[in-house]
């Protein structure tokens, strides 16, 4: 394979200087029509493709932003990523999507990668928000926006949804339905989102005058369907009279796992156990028992975060860090609403 044609080869074929070729590419209006078409013809003939590395090297910065999420297999994150992608593309930037898989080591290696690529900025849902690693990246000049996680300090941007409120809404709903024995399924608790949702649930219990520590917490290793099934086993394994009658899961994948396990064991949802999930992914509504869930503005989360990181990257010195917080919304479906089940059944 012959090495790719460079701007110099184009110049030679077109019989002009390299500067002129560069001008045709970047400021076509300054070059005369005749020369321009000669150059374009040469480009066509040679199949010339710009070398992005060289452009970046020269420009000092790339035209990409990095997005680091906890789990690309989780539809919540792909929706967020698409939101970010839309905004980035509109600004002429490409997105490098990275999957940390809940592992600090993978997160670190992707941060290395992104920094080495000199990305304009990074959107990240960190494994550990307090990590010094993130601070040092910011310190070296790469803007970072926390995604789906409220920044503790006002010294950085973040875009989040109020997880405390979300947890509260979910638990409040279950309490109103008369559930006295509830469980929380989620983990690892070191994830801010998880602990906030748990705290919200506890707050709702406390607000109702009950003892918040009566909430049974099942910590999972990850936020996926398999972990949900394991948690489901634990729940199903208990004697019916000590078994929780309601389960609030830290995300929908867990909830689907729990639901599957209940169904497999012949435990009826919502009659024996009510379930509420979190995120309201597209598949929640299509589940065996349509899943009640706390909805987050996924797409907008991504869009807003991308806007903020782009703004910070093109900073003229006046950038002010903001912490945006959206409000979640509870969507009630059959999995937590026995009345709705009867209604649907009658209709059929």
């Amino acid at each position: 394979m012959t090495p790719a044609a460079s701007i110099r080869d184009v110049a030679a074929v077109a019989g002009v200087s390299v500067g002129t070729v560069s001008n045709v590419l970047n400021r076509p209006e300054v070059v005369s029509a005749g020369t321009r078409s000669k150059v374009l013809a040469a480009i066509e003939e040679l199949g010339f493709v710009r070398n992005e590395s060289a452009r970046q090297l020269r420009a000092g910065a790339s035209r990409t932003i990095g997005v680091v999420v906890l789990d690309v297999a989780n539809p919540f994150f792909t929706d967020v990523a698409r939101g970010a992608e839309d905004t980035a593309n509109a600004a002429g930037l490409a997105v490098i999507l990275c999957n940390s898989d809940d592992q600090a080591a993978k997160e670190d290696s992707y941060l290395d990668l992104l920094e080495q690529q000199r990305v304009q900025g990074i959107l990240i849902t960190p494994v550990d928000a307090g990590s010094a690693r993130l601070e040092s990246v910011r310190g070296r000049g790469t803007p970072i926006v926390l995604l789906d996680q409220h920044a503790r300090s006002t010294a950085q941007c973040s875009v989040a949804v109020d997880d405390l409120l979300g947890g509260e809404l979910a638990m409040q709903h279950l309490l109103e339905r008369g559930h006295e024995r509830a469980a929380f399924v989620g983990g690892p608790l070191s994830l801010r989102q998880v602990s906030d949702r748990l705290d919200g649930a506890r707050a709702a219990i406390a607000a109702s005058g009950r003892q918040a520590d009566r909430l049974h917490v099942i910590e999972t290793a990850a936020l996926n369907v398999a972990s949900g099934r394991q948690a489901g086993e634990q729940i199903a394994g208990r004697a019916p009279r000590s078994r929780p009658t309601a389960v609030f899961c830290a995300n929908d994948l867990l909830a689907l796992g729990v639901l599957q396990e209940m169904t497999r064991r012949g435990i009826r949802v919502p009659r024996d156990v009510a379930i509420v999930g979190y995120d309201d992914i597209e598949f929640a509504a299509a589940a065996a028992v349509p899943l009640s869930s706390v909805r987050q503005p996924r797409h907008q989360l991504g869009r807003t975060a991308a806007e903020m990181v782009i703004e910070e990257a093109s900073d003229n010195g006046t950038h002010e860090h903001r912490q945006v917080v959206f409000e979640p919304e509870l969507v009630i479906r059959e999995s937590s609403d026995a009345a709705r089940v009867r209604r649907t059944a009658r209709k059929a």
Copy 2:
């Protein structure tokens, strides 16, 4: 913000030449222990981060591969992408994941991007496999492996699953269950996967001695849940006696959409209408009525494709194009199996 430290700054601080710093970075064994630690200290002090653009420029090629899929929101593709990522990471390569969204224009612009980045190779599920665009990219020297689509010619690599067989398995199953009026839901038919699955279904019908053209084809605009719902409306809208009793969908998202619409209209699955999907995504088993589906080795598809593209990229001149074809497997669940439904119900 001060400009990022370069290898030259490190050299100055450490009191050595740039060549030595480069050696510490790339062949630490050739530099003496003393110098090495001086350099490492300087790197630490300055917070030096390698500039990937410069490395690439010098090396002439990047250390990334591109993966272009039709829809990142489809769990099938994220699983394939993760397979590719695993293999690529193990080989020290990063993955740029791109989403063509079924649109030739987006596909083209991502191909431009990837080519400009000088990626080592591209895995792609093309919108239009015959497109000259792909040929020209290959012609310029970027290896391309067709993903989830069998190459027509032997002049390029591909990794696919036998979609004809998959379609056959699905339809054969429905015929065995006694369904005489069947529909196929999928589209656009210009996608090879879709048309192959349809052809397979027709082949099964013909093989059973029936008229293949009795299969009612509903072409959808896309392969997502929303299109599935629309198709579901069409099906539900027909009078019960002319309505198909079985629906084979070109993927699981469509099947979930059809299922949702049936449920909403009070049409029972599988009693009134049986449904079979395709891909066996994780959510198929968790659906309102667990979905029968044709399973594909998603993860392995991605892994194998990545292996092949890496092999071709590091070609010593002896690369032989291969067309790998995996076999799909039918997974039967309640959505197409009334007997199973009764069994489950009795158990509960």
